[in-house]
Each structure stands twice: as structure tokens, then as C-alpha cells.
Symmetry: C2
Subunit: 361 residues, 2 copies
Amino acid sequence: MSTATQTPAASKLVTIEALTEFTMASLQRLGVSEADARTTADVLVTTDAWGVFTHGTKGLRGYLRRLKAGGLRAEARPEIATQGPAWAIVNGQSALAMVTSVLAMRTAIAKAKTCGIAYVGVRNSCHYGAAGYYASLAADAGLIGMSMANDVPSVAAPGSRGAITGSNPISYAIPAGKHRSILLDMSVATVAGGKVYAARTRGEAIPNTWLVGADGKPTTDPSGYPQIGALQPAAGHKGYGIALLIEALSGVLSGASVTWQVGNWLWDDGTKPTDHGAAFIALDVNTIMPAAEFTRRVEALVDEIHSAPRADGVDRLFVPGEMEWEKHARATREGIALPSDVVESLRDSATMAGLKLEDYL
Amino acid sequence: MSTATQTPAASKLVTIEALTEFTMASLQRLGVSEADARTTADVLVTTDAWGVFTHGTKGLRGYLRRLKAGGLRAEARPEIATQGPAWAIVNGQSALAMVTSVLAMRTAIAKAKTCGIAYVGVRNSCHYGAAGYYASLAADAGLIGMSMANDVPSVAAPGSRGAITGSNPISYAIPAGKHRSILLDMSVATVAGGKVYAARTRGEAIPNTWLVGADGKPTTDPSGYPQIGALQPAAGHKGYGIALLIEALSGVLSGASVTWQVGNWLWDDGTKPTDHGAAFIALDVNTIMPAAEFTRRVEALVDEIHSAPRADGVDRLFVPGEMEWEKHARATREGIALPSDVVESLRDSATMAGLKLEDYL
């Protein structure tokens, strides 16, 4: 969990409860049921509590816009279209992707408890926020969880002039006993597009590993992004290769749209479904190995990393997700320090929902 | 599949059949059954045919040495220790890892055909060669396959002074209809240790993204490697995060050794098992979606990539594995051009087995 963490310049301190209440109220004003609003708010607010502000309630205005336009349907019920002992395909019916994704991961968890492992593919979904939330659901239930999704292309392949795959997030979570779950949430690009865009806004050059320009070659010039250029895949052919696995499991095998057929949830026609795909995999630890033994083994691994020799000047070694869980604990105690761009976005959300932000935050 | 492909300086052209025959004969001379020798030879020679010479028959002398010393047991039969509908744990019993791994992937394939997906973990195994071979077995049978393994630590984590995880290979293969399977085989390190060692041998500096030195900081000096330094993880925290997922599925959940408990298959006491872990996952496409529909969809994705705009000076865009399958086709027609270091290693193998290399190649 680290592509999008950021230290806010100016921020507003809000409680998890207040932010949840505002998010739920906004969604309910657009016809979303209380239960679905709660599910969606928990995804978005948990993400903010992790400090991953690019994927939390900042997205709310985008989801509200689509709910208003009809591309997302407030009353839709995602359903299991086909299934077997250790697999299912969920048709999201253009419901909020958080609602569909939670159903899908819960289905994977239930099937994994019987079979050991399960795969659930999703089609007719939309932007689902932070991949890590769903993986974390599985870990909270004692399972190893994986979550991934496709998206409209923004990332180049080695040698391509433009984008070939989405930034295709992938996440896993591993229950870790006395520690919070080991939790990785990454995109297949070298950096988030937001970092390139921020450099453009500041008029700064970027490292030549972030972007390819109009000629498909690495560039230090972000001035045309995102109209010109594509993100570079992380570690070259490795990031590109992982992107295609995600595309296959999320898009191809689920029956969802693939690459350029996926709608852009922010910029494309809000009246049309985006038809994102996603995939969820759960492995039930306790079916395969006594949970206490697994816990002992994974705790030993984490402890070993924590006590390993550090490079000069390094205070701590972290396992994936550890920084985010510490932010989460602080947010639970002290509130979330929302960056100003998130607060501005929530003001837009309030306007769209006919609410006063000050009544909540 | 690209970490270790190389253009040989001086090479010897051999047929797949002759190299297979030599590999089988060497193994059989050390007590391995004809069937197990055939399995092992197919893994190693297929890898050479892909051009991945670091992981092919070059490893044979290492396996023979362990067979002689007793750390690998020629007569051992890997067995399914525990299992359920969509999972199993295989105890390799210190048999050749290729024999154990093929059994494990075949078990995953059979269970996935019933359940949709299956996981098979392996313990008491050893260095299994190229991860891609086993993923490819699944794709040849119409399934999506994944293969991964742990190893003795050689790769740093962000901020660590030394190695934290193995280079932990991971591979997937996706059946692709009229095309050969999409096939990725990667390690979690920025580059293979062999590339660092080769630079040391040539007395050259290396890019500062390959290695951390004795102080845990990036270095351009390979002169102490591998005694001093650790490989950098690919894409920093992303490669490190993937390494830990592989460690969890291959080592922790299977009951195998984890990180520093894994034996070094080349350098550690040959009389002792290395107790490597591995994990194999198969998804049966045809259980989840009609195979013809999946084929149409994946072919469209490959065709889209092939016809996408290319950067200036780039002739072709490749999907993962495409270069290796073209080498494989050429090797089948014309033979494999074995680099001189592989030929030298085969000479050692022949000596160990009491064979004359010239009788075969």
C-alpha cells in the first residue's frame, strides 16, 4: 500500500464516523440503500484512514455523478451469474463497484472455506476504489485474499508508443496473527498518474522512468500528460506481464470489457456503464494448515524482517501495509487529516447531493 | 520469460533429442528411474529451448552432485500429504524438484477441472528450474497456470542492509488459441544475480539499480558480489511485496522452510535436503467460460497488442513468452545453440555420471 500515500499540505481533521456519515448521506440522497451506502462508505473511508487519499472519498463525487447520469444504478443488485464449487462470476449490473466487489469477495471467502481456494470474477462493474480493501476483508476472516481489476489503458508496454493496459491494481492480504495483515496494494505502473500530473502542474521535470512521450520514448517532460504520453510499466516487462495476468483474470475470463473497451469512469459518458472487470481470490489458511501453525510461521517471518539489519540511516524495516495500518490506528484515535484537495472534492459531492458539508464535517 | 536469455558467445548446436538423451542417461546413472529422468530432462531441455540457459541443463551438474551426496534422493516418491476438493500439499520427500513439481501441477490441473481453481503447495523440494515450465503445463491443458517458489535470501527489502527474501520466481501461462500461450517467468529482483556476477568478472561497473552494497545503499560496484551485497527488488516495494506473497504461498502455507532456513542448492551441504517450497495454481478456463469464447477474447487481446502503435525504431510488440516460443520453434527445427558455459557444465555432468559427452552431443 504505497503508490498514493501523501502528506497533505493543508488538511482538515475529521473523524471516521463523521466522514462515514457524510458519505452515506450523499449516496442515500441519490437513491442508494442504507446498506449499500454503508458498504461503499466503509471502502472509501477505510482507504482514507490508510492515508491512500487518491482512492478514498475523493472519488465520491465521481460515483455520485455517474449515479445521477445513470451509468451507475443506485437500485441495481449484483448477482451471481454462474458458479461452481470454487468459482463464480458476478454480474455487477452497474451497481456501485464497492457493493459488487464486497459481494464477490464474500462469495470467494465462503467457497474457499469449503474448497480451500476460490476465484470470483466480476463483470459489469466500475472503478472499485482501493484493491486492498477487498483483500483485507479476506485477511480479517483468516484467509489469504487477492484482489485485482482492469481499467482503461494508461500504461505502455515495452516498445509501445502509447498505452496498452490499464494501471491494473493488484493487492493481497495475509493474516499475520499478532500483527495487522501483510497488505500490498500496487498498480503495474512505475508511478501513479497523479504524480506525473502534479509535476506538470508545478512545471517540473520528471524522472525518465515514469512516462513515455508522444514518440513512445522515455521522457522527462510531463507537460502534455495525460493527453500525450503513457505511464511506464513498473520494472519494464515485469509490470507489463503482471498487467496482462490481471487483464486475463479480471477482464477476459469474467466476460467484462477488456483494455480499450473499458469505460473511463471519470471522463467518459456518465450515462453508460464502464463495464470494468475484477477478480478476487481467497485461500482458506485453516483448511490447508492449522491456523495456529500458520500464525506462528507468519509471525516469525514478520519478526525476522523487523529485526533484520538495516541500511545506514534507516530506522525501521516495514512489511507491506504496516505504514498504512499505523495511519489507520492513528485515524481511529485522532481522526483523519484530509488533504485540501479531498475536502474540495467533498464540497462538490455535498453540492451534488444537496447537502451542506458543514453539517457533517 | 526474459530474465536470463542471452546470446551465446561461442555455442554448440545440439538437437533437443540428443540433449534429452544425455540428460536422461546422466540421471539414470545416478539411480533415477527412466520416467523421472524423462520428466526432469523435459523441464531442463524445454528451458534451454526457450533460450533460458541459466535455468536449463546447466543446472544438471548441481542436481547430480546432490543426488550423489544424498540431499536429493533418486528413489524418493513425492506424495500428496493432505488434500481437499481444490487444494493439496505435496511432500516432495527430497525427490528431484522437477518430478515433485510436475506431480503438483498435474494435481492442481485435475482438481481445477472439478472445482474451477486449485492450489497445490509443495514442501521438501529443491531448486525446481524454470517456473514457467510448470505454468506452461497448465496452459497446454487449456488452463491458466501459475507457478512460484521460494529460495534462500538474495534480494533486499527497501531499507534493509542485506537480503530479506529469495529471488522467488513467479510465472503464469495463459492459453491463447492460435497463438502460443502468454507466458511470463520473472524473479522479484531487478536483475538476475548472474548479470551482476558477469559484470564483476569483466571488471565493469553496474547500474545503481541492481545491487545494494555492504552498507545497504545502492552501489555501482559488483566486485564483492555475491559475498557482499544483495540484489535490489524490482520496482522497490512492489518487488519486495510480491516476494512476500510468494514466500507465504510457497513456504509458509506449504510447511516448507522459509527464507534463511531454505538450503542453498548449489553451495550448502549436499547431504542435506534444501526443503524449498513451491506453489502451483490452476484455473480451468472451460469450467468458467466456454473455451471457444475465452480463446476468441484472448486472441483479440493478443492481436490488439500486436497491431498497437510502436515507439520509433521498434519493429514488433511482443506478448510475454512470445520471444521464447519463437526460440523454441527454432530449436525444434534447427537444434539448440548451447552457450559455451552450458557445454562446460555438461562436461562436468558427464564426468559425474561416468559418461562421455561426445557419445551424445
